[in-house]
Symmetry: C2
Subunit: 130 residues, 2 copies
DNA sequence: ACAAGTACTTACCCTAAAGTAGGTGCCTAT
DNA sequence: ATAGGCACCTACTTTAGGGTAAGTACTTGT
């Protein structure tokens, strides 16, 4: 067991931090507003850059490319470019990225349940108004 | 079906936005760095203010109370204070908040899988170094 | 008398994240 | 000839999220 030498303390700290709060680790990778939204769209299938742009009209190009680059260095997203003109660039989830699909899916499920709940409340309120 | 009158367009927009991207709805509620971390600790059981503080040493009091208040108005967290001195305030998840447990749990699961993966990679790399 | 613990609140500051608005190079369609 | 689509890049500015440090009110412990 001589593997992991000097860096073992880092690893131990990481293990420690993880036991303290695993969610912190996740936030370091996909914290912020846009990343989970981008990941959601990629979870629906591989997308070209321009497809992502159209799928998320509210995001600026700067934010989109910036987060895509970061997701790439964090090995959550893979960028594949065909050397043609006009450019043809595809983004897809890596296997780590696909590991986040349950998270994204749980988020989507919750959102639907919440809004259905509001809907039901509203009908109920209107009904009891007379 | 005359329930929902003037406000129906808002509701329709919400439904539309939700179909476009349910994750956006989630981000409006729990986006940012700290909220999921707070929710994780509350998912482990009801906590007093000071317990949360100790559980999340990296957070400042300002951030903690600020996000707790916001989670309260968003009906994800319930604040219960006993009128005693010294104060005794407990925070717990509401039913909406409990609905997020699968999200938080999926995050925690992913974090553990990721770090185990890194660990395995590291051992593998060291082994093939000689 | 003083520190420490409870659960906050307030004022000030700073930085990192995000928005604005341009440009690049190359091609196709009108 | 000009506009538009592709996938970006860059400089500048704004905003909001977060950090620092102090104070509040009341009680218990030493």
């Amino acid at each position: 067991m001589t593997a992991i030498k000097e860096s073992s303390t880092i690893q131990q700290n990481k293990q420690f931090a993880l036991e303290q709060c695993p969610v912190t680790y996740v936030m370091e990778k996909i914290g912020g507003y846009w990343k989970p939204i981008i990941l959601y769209h990629l979870s629906q299938g591989d997308k070209r850059y321009s497809e992502l742009r159209r799928a998320i009209p509210a995001i600026t190009e700067k934010m989109l490319i910036q987060h895509l680059k970061q997701l790439e260095v964090d090995d959550l997203v893979l960028r594949e470019s065909k050397p043609v003109v006009p450019p043809f660039v595809t983004y897809r989830l890596t296997s780590s990225g696909r590991g986040l699909i349950p998270v994204i899916q749980a988020m989507a499920d919750w959102a639907f349940r919440e809004v259905r709940g509001e809907f039901a409340d509203r009908i109920h309120a209107s009904a009891s108004e007379g």
